[in-house]
């Protein structure tokens, strides 16, 4: 049978009782996450409405409530190295329903930004960057589609960076400003050789 990543072994592992020490905490973490996310995880009273609203929760060990708690407690390593960080589909149901007016989805996004600074990032995210750097599109055109477009009376290439590739240079400058392409290339190469 096909299985999603790390289930149920990951769950068993997570249910083991653990002791947390002050040395596991980095108090700056809470502050940085709040700055990037522009939301207020410290207001969380752990009601669990977020996890109950989450489409990823019933089929994985991903618990948005737990991630919010980790932020409040400053458990940076534990949060950023948990592969479940990447299971949020960003549907914003939790954000819509949070009775404390927190945006848990944006808390996740902030943590993903911080994880990327430590090179923790699934490769597929970086491949989107590479595609956009080359073509301007995350999902570029192809020959089958070009033929279909012509039959529809559309131009073979849409009037985006595809038809006007002179705009790609500007996109590359923006991505280079943040050294995003260089970092993406480096990490992909490290992972895939």
């Amino acid at each position: 049978m096909v299985r999603s990543k790390g289930y149920p072994e990951a769950l068993e592992n997570k249910l083991i009782d653990r002791v947390l020490y002050d040395s596991d905490r980095s108090p700056e973490f809470t502050k940085v996450v709040e700055e990037i996310s522009r939301t207020i995880p410290h207001m969380c009273y752990q009601c669990g409405t977020c996890t109950a609203s989450c489409p990823s929760a019933p089929r994985s060990t991903y618990r948005i409530r737990k991630f919010v708690r980790r932020v409040v407690m400053g458990l940076e390593n534990e949060a950023l190295t948990d592969p479940d960080l990447w299971l949020c589909t960003t549907c914003y149901s939790c954000t819509d329903r949070c009775p404390r007016d927190i945006a848990p989805t944006d808390v996740i996004m902030a943590m993903r930004n911080l994880a990327f600074k430590r090179d923790i990032i699934p490769v597929n995210f970086l491949k989107t960057v590479q595609a956009i750097y080359t073509t301007g599109h995350g999902v570029p055109n192809n020959d089958v589609n070009r033929a279909a477009r012509k039959k529809l009376g559309l131009e073979a290439d849409p009037p985006t960076t595809h038809k006007f590739p002179q705009y790609i240079k500007g996109i590359q400058k923006i991505l280079d400003y943040y050294k995003l392409k260089a970092n993406a290339d480096r990490i992909v190469k490290e992972r895939e050789g």
């Binding site: 489409p55 990447w86 549907c91 149901s93 989805t105 477009r149 985006t160 996109i171």
Partner: protein, 304 residues
């Protein structure tokens, strides 16, 4: 004909590059409804809010701002047909208009390419424009129909990023602001002569967003499969969406679900613009429905 409402048509990636019928239909159907969609030359990926937002929110904003500046130069508001694009283009526009620090940060980058974000335009989803009686409205849609989809049962997948998070959205039409049990898209479907069908947990995500489709395809498809089970329970002839990424997840996803889970549904998935095109008399060829992974014939047999 009265004055046309003109917009810069922001295409995104998946509509023009995977479901070009949705692009063609958007242009042709809205023209009949008083909405003219003009090409936005040099636009790029929005960029994908899940992928780019996860990596670095600053890059996400700068890249989206570049697209916004292109429309500012045209002096036109943007209309688009994808919820993911809406998340990037609408939300970044909104953030930059209301946060000077973010706007300054973005403009510092844009200076490198001789651009400046000014905050002079608005961004709309085409579906929201078509629903708004001040622009088009349901009655006008009904009046444009030459081939009513009578006798078909159609369910709506709203997707996430057009309406959610509600507190970060600002719709002029109240019905569009309801995120728990909205009904405005069902009204748009019934205007085409079809029966709009409710189903369990209809506001659930398609499962593709946030980079999850690329990160863990089985997890992602399992979410899609749950929706397909709920749709099968009520029995529908087609599913309609207003987001090409959701469309891809439901359409190609059904093939992947068959391969990985061994269940098949054969449920045609059409963008609302494609559905509107059929109801306005466009042929399946003019909508490139043959590019869909799931055969639309059983549905077409009922409406043609």
């Amino acid at each position: 004909m009265e004055n046309m409402h003109e917009y810069a048509f922001y295409l995104g990636c998946i509509a023009p590059n995977r479901y070009p019928g949705a692009e063609a239909a958007a242009i042709r159907t809205s023209e009949k409804l008083g909405v003219k969609l003009l090409p936005l030359e040099g636009a790029s990926c929005c960029p994908a809010p899940g992928a780019f937002g996860s990596i670095d929110l600053n890059v996400w904003m700068a890249m989206a701002a570049r697209n916004l500046v292109l429309a500012e130069k045209m002096k036109k508001d943007i209309a688009l047909v994808c919820n993911g694009c809406y998340k990037s283009i609408w939300e970044v526009n909104h953030k930059l208009k209301h946060n000077d620090d973010l706007r300054d940060r973005v403009n510092e980058v844009l200076k490198e390419i001789d651009m400046e974000y000014k905050g002079t335009i608005n961004v709309y989803h085409l579906a929201e424009l078509l629903y708004n009686p001040e622009i088009c409205g349901v009655e006008k849609i009904r009046g444009s129909i030459t081939n009513p989809l009578t006798g078909t049962r159609i369910a709506v997948h709203y997707g996430c990023h057009l309406m959610k998070p509600r507190k970060d959205r600002d719709f002029s039409v109240d019905a569009v602001s309801k995120t728990e049990a909205p009904h405005w898209m069902e009204e748009m479907v019934e205007a085409l002569g079809a029966e709009a069908v409710e189903y369990r947990n209809k506001m659930q995500c398609c499962g593709a967003g946030g980079g999850v489709r690329g990160y863990d395809i089985v997890h992602s498809l399992d979410i899609t499969n749950e929706k397909l089970i709920n749709l099968k329970e009520v029995g529908v002839d087609a599913l309609t969406d207003i987001c090409p990424f959701c469309q891809l997840q439901f359409d190609r996803g059904q093939i992947e679900i068959q391969e990985k889970f061994g269940v098949s549904y054969g449920l045609p998935v059409l963008h609302y613009c494609e559905l509107l095109g059929l109801a306005q008399g466009m042929s399946p060829q003019e909508l490139a429905l043959d590019l869909h992974a799931i055969n639309c014939e059983p549905f077409l047999a009922k409406v043609l």
